[in-house]
């Protein structure tokens, strides 16, 4: 058995070395290291620590700021859930911009994890007749209601199923994450996602230095690179520290609720038990952890 293993790792090392020599001849050893880095999910604690330390040094050089990169795993006994009160949401889009800031999303080219759709009250939830491009002086507009959409953190995620390299997966607490260093940028997940929740870095991402959030998670809001997919992680850097995602915190009308589905005393459980909830596109059997409800 041991023999087989070493042969396997020998083949692995030899082929890796050849490939990388071909691909990167002339590059410095650091880029070489990053190039050779394995899928984060398969790494040992030691390797993860080393990578994170290097990352902090690299960010310091690149942005001149002290970053704190966490790789905190899911807490035992948590399964996150989200609920959004459609009767309260006024469509102000504060959540959109709080999210952009918290998660270091590229400003130009622009990436938004949350898209707020304006829908006609007479039609109900009808994507074909909705618009994301509403721009009145004051919201809400008469005759309309608003449906903010972000990653629904499906229990049966189509995006994870299709990824050819396992660069995206569902964590034990239900958050679907992306390893930006492993994603090849094929965008199959974007074709598979029925909610438009996945976003691609079409160009080099651009965040003003003074607006950088330096409290980051490896699988969340750390600075991304060109050519990889990213998505909402329920603010993994906050939620795993026991804080609310920033969209929940900023919402001026309290339409956004977040909590642990396994905790019987949580607000999210109260909503599921006492309100009538709905999920988007339930016929697709994606089983979202993101519920919509009418609170008033």
């Amino acid at each position: 058995m041991k023999n087989k293993n070493s042969r396997r790792s020998f083949i692995k090392n030899i082929s890796l070395a050849t490939f990388s020599a071909l691909a990167l001849s002339g590059c410095n050893s650091e880029a070489f290291d990053v190039f050779l880095q394995q899928n984060f999910k398969t790494l040992s604690k030691k390797e993860k620590d080393r990578i994170i330390k290097n990352l902090e040094i690299k960010y310091k050089e690149k942005y001149g700021k002290e970053f704190h990169v966490s790789d905190r795993p899911a807490l035992e006994g948590t399964s996150f859930g989200y609920a959004l009160d459609l009767s309260r949401c006024v469509g102000c889009r504060r959540c959109v911009y709080a999210c952009v800031k918290e998660n270091n999303q590229s400003r130009d080219p622009q990436i938004h994890y949350i898209e707020v759709l304006q829908m006609e009250k007479e039609r109900g939830i009808d994507f074909a007749h909705s618009t994301a491009q509403y721009n009145p002086e004051k919201v809400p507009e008469k005759g309309y209601f608003y449906v903010p959409i972000q990653c629904q953190q499906c229990k049966n995620p189509p995006c994870v199923k299709v990824c050819p390299v396992r660069a995206t997966w569902q964590e034990p607490d239900g958050i679907t994450v992306v390893d930006y260093n492993w994603c090849i940028g094929c965008r199959y997940c974007m074709a598979a996602c029925p909610y438009g929740a996945r976003h691609f870095n079409w160009g080099e991402p651009n965040v003003p230095n003074e607006e950088l959030n330096t409290e980051v998670h490896y699988l969340g809001n750390r600075p991304r690179m060109k050519g990889v997919v990213e998505k909402c992680t329920f603010c993994i850097q906050r939620s795993r520290e026991g804080k609310y995602p920033s969209c929940v915190e900023i919402c001026p009308v309290g339409a956004r609720k977040f909590g642990n589905l396994l905790d019987p005393d949580s607000e999210i459980r109260y909503i599921l038990e006492n309100k009538r909830v709905l999920i988007l596109k339930q016929e697709l059997n994606t089983q979202p952890r993101f519920y919509y409800f009418f609170g008033i």
Partner: protein, 409 residues
């Protein structure tokens, strides 16, 4: 050592040629350069140089990929009728069909490489060193079958040419089973590619069981079209012998394929338009446009008109047996399937997007130039390989002509 001589002999032959041959090579090289400079912009700045965005996240590149999978599949499937109707030059048909398949798969893989955001990370897909998501991801299946198909065809065709080069009799026990495997493999690559799109419940436009059958039918229209023209060129310029009847038979088989394709499409359209659900939107965008967004309409109608004209030309025996109209028909059907796979298959699936928003996509100059680059490289490769095959198969170029002094004794 023997194989090495075969390779050097083959390389020598690609530098020998007439003025027309060299002009053709120079045109291809210029196109490669022109396309390559377009692609270098994408390499430097990323896929932002294309017109793809989050709403339409797959487009022209993957459409080209799909088209070429069809060409690769059909080239080898032509072996079936060649066998059944006992066309004489079956060995030659196998050789040129498989050469075309090799070049098409090469172009397919190139279109994948230019379409991914991090081409250097392609090794993440390799078994043992990467983490290929097999069997869950259809893309991993596609990658797997395409590579096997490439190796299979490359092996058979190299082996056949190698044997002829050394004037040896090829071993039927090696070639026959491999050719027999490559036929279902041809069906497999195109079916897998259809399945890549087919079972994404969020994309209703593709979510029809007719998608894979339509893929195969359309492939049987476009793939033989190239060989039809190639066989005529070979017949004129070499001592390749293929009877008129065989060429007309290919055309006849293409008519059946076109009819089946037309029938499947009409069945699809009937179901969508008569049931009249929301899902009709995608077909509406393709055929008529939604509101002021009619950018895609010229593409779809040009494909329909080209396809129907070719169908009529191939259906009427008189025009089918006239080589001028036959060739016009072959070019038209090729063009029709190209536009259908390149644009009409992919874009409507993303417009309107999953949240009902419309982003209008048409290919950018970078995308067109990159595609020109890949096609030119593919044609160049095919020219070289055909040149070698023609020399070895028809012009009696063999080990003796490589070094006449030794062998003349």
């Amino acid at each position: 050592m023997n194989f090495f001589r075969f390779i050097t002999g083959s390389i020598k032959i690609i530098f020998r040629g007439s003025k027309t041959y060299y002009t053709w090579l120079i045109i291809l090289l210029l196109l490669i350069l022109w396309g390559g400079f377009g692609y270098s912009g994408q390499l430097a700045h990323g896929l932002i140089k294309t017109h793809m965005r989050d709403s339409v996240s797959w487009a022209f590149y993957i459409g080209n990929f799909t088209f070429l999978v069809g060409v690769a599949a059909a080239a080898v499937m032509l072996v079936i009728p060649a066998y059944i109707y006992d066309w004489k030059p079956i060995k030659e048909i196998v050789i040129f069909g498989e050469l075309l398949a090799v070049c098409s798969v090469f172009m397919c893989l190139s279109f994948i490489m230019v379409d991914i955001g991090n081409p250097l990370r392609f090794w993440h897909m390799l078994p043992l060193i990467g983490t290929l998501n097999f069997p869950s991801s259809m893309l991993s299946w596609d990658f797997f079958v395409l590579n096997i198909y490439l190796l299979l065809n490359l092996f058979v065709v190299t082996y056949l040419l190698y044997c002829i080069f050394y004037k040896k009799e090829y071993k039927k026990s090696i070639v026959l089973p491999l050719v027999l495997i490559s036929i279902p493999m041809a069906v497999a690559i195109h079916t897998t590619t259809a399945f890549l799109y087919n079972a994404l419940p969020g994309r209703v436009f593709w979510n029809s069981a007719l998608l894979a059958p339509r893929f195969l039918a359309s492939a049987f229209c476009s793939g033989p079209a190239i060989l039809l023209i190639l066989f005529q060129i070979l017949r004129k310029t070499t001592n390749f012998e293929i009877k008129d009847e065989a060429i007309w038979k290919i055309a006849e088989l293409m008519v059946y394929a076109m009819f089946i394709y037309l029938f499947f499409t009409i069945a699809e359209l009937f179901k969508e338009f008569y049931s009249g659900t929301e899902n009709i939107l995608f077909w509406k965008y393709l055929l008529f446009g939604i509101g002021d967004h009619k950018e895609i309409v010229p593409y779809s109608w040009s494909s329909i008109i080209m396809g129907c004209t070719a169908f009529v030309l191939f259906l009427i025996p008189k025009t089918r047996k006239n080589f001028l109209t036959l060739n016009i028909g072959a070019v038209l059907i090729y063009g029709s399937v190209y536009v259908e796979k390149g644009i009409a298959l992919i874009i409507p699936a993303f417009t309107p997007d999953v949240l009902g928003q419309i982003y209008v996509y048409t290919p950018s100059m970078t995308e067109i130039r990159t595609a020109v680059m890949i096609f030119s490289i593919g044609f160049l490769l095919f020219t070289f390989l055909s040149k070698i095959a023609i020399a070895i198969v028809f012009e009696n170029y063999n080990i003796e002509s490589l070094n006449p002094k030794i062998y003349s004794k």
